[in-house]
Subunit: 110 residues, 2 copies
DNA sequence: ATCCTTTATCGTGGATGTGCGATGATCATT
DNA sequence: AATGATCATCGCACATCCACGATAAAGGAT
């Protein structure tokens, strides 16, 4: 059991999958995404009326989702309309599809 | 824009999806899972020889994956053999399938 | 020019994540 | 009993996350 010191560089896909997963790793953000996908789009204020959190907190979650690429915001002063970023959404979908693609049902465990 | 104070309780599915996503939110853990799915099973030491991390760090990541339910470990002293937990793996697969199930391609944004 | 509405950003405090070396636990071998 | 191999756990640093209230930014209405 000898440790490697080679500084492994993860594949781009691995890095991106981890980024998407982190964005999805909080119940509030999942709820926001669910809301966005059912309503198609919505404003920040709509979410404040639904989630028991301060407006600043929700804004922060929206920022994280935007930085992960899962949503996009269109400024429409004084409101901002958020939607799913379809392109990246499908990208994430494919990443997770690939990740879970292995069929273990036929493999006896060792 | 009036804030709700009702203490929302997230659905069990939402909570579990978040838990799975958190487990998948780190490149090291994704690499471990990829390794496990290609090799079927492996020992802790095998991973130490592949990843440039201390044994304790890898053990910690394995613990998180185990607590999330994605893998299981079978003690075989002095070694421990880790495998994918097929049942929960498929559960996670279904959660993400459902999450990404929406077809936005046909929806014009608002 | 001054409010009002809506949203983003800042600063802060507490919790959690991530890496490490050191140490403990377990069991086979000697 | 003592040693060696393998792995988990502990304790420690440092960074990031998460929630909050306060404040800033932007633009419409008065």
């Amino acid at each position: 059991m000898k440790r490697t010191n080679k500084p492994i560089s993860y594949s781009k896909t691995t890095e991106e999958t981890a980024r998407f997963a982190k964005a999805l790793s909080h119940p509030v953000r999942l709820t926001i995404l669910k809301h966005l996908s059912s309503q198609n789009c919505c404003f920040t204020g709509d979410l404040v009326e639904v989630l028991p959190l301060a407006q600043s907190t929700i804004s922060q979650h929206l920022k994280e989702l935007k930085e992960a690429g899962l949503i996009q915001g269109e400024v429409n002063p004084p409101k901002v309309k958020y939607c799913i970023d379809v392109e990246n959404w499908n990208k994430a979908k494919n990443f997770f599809d690939t990740l879970f693609n292995e069929d273990f049902s036929k493999i006896s465990c060792c």
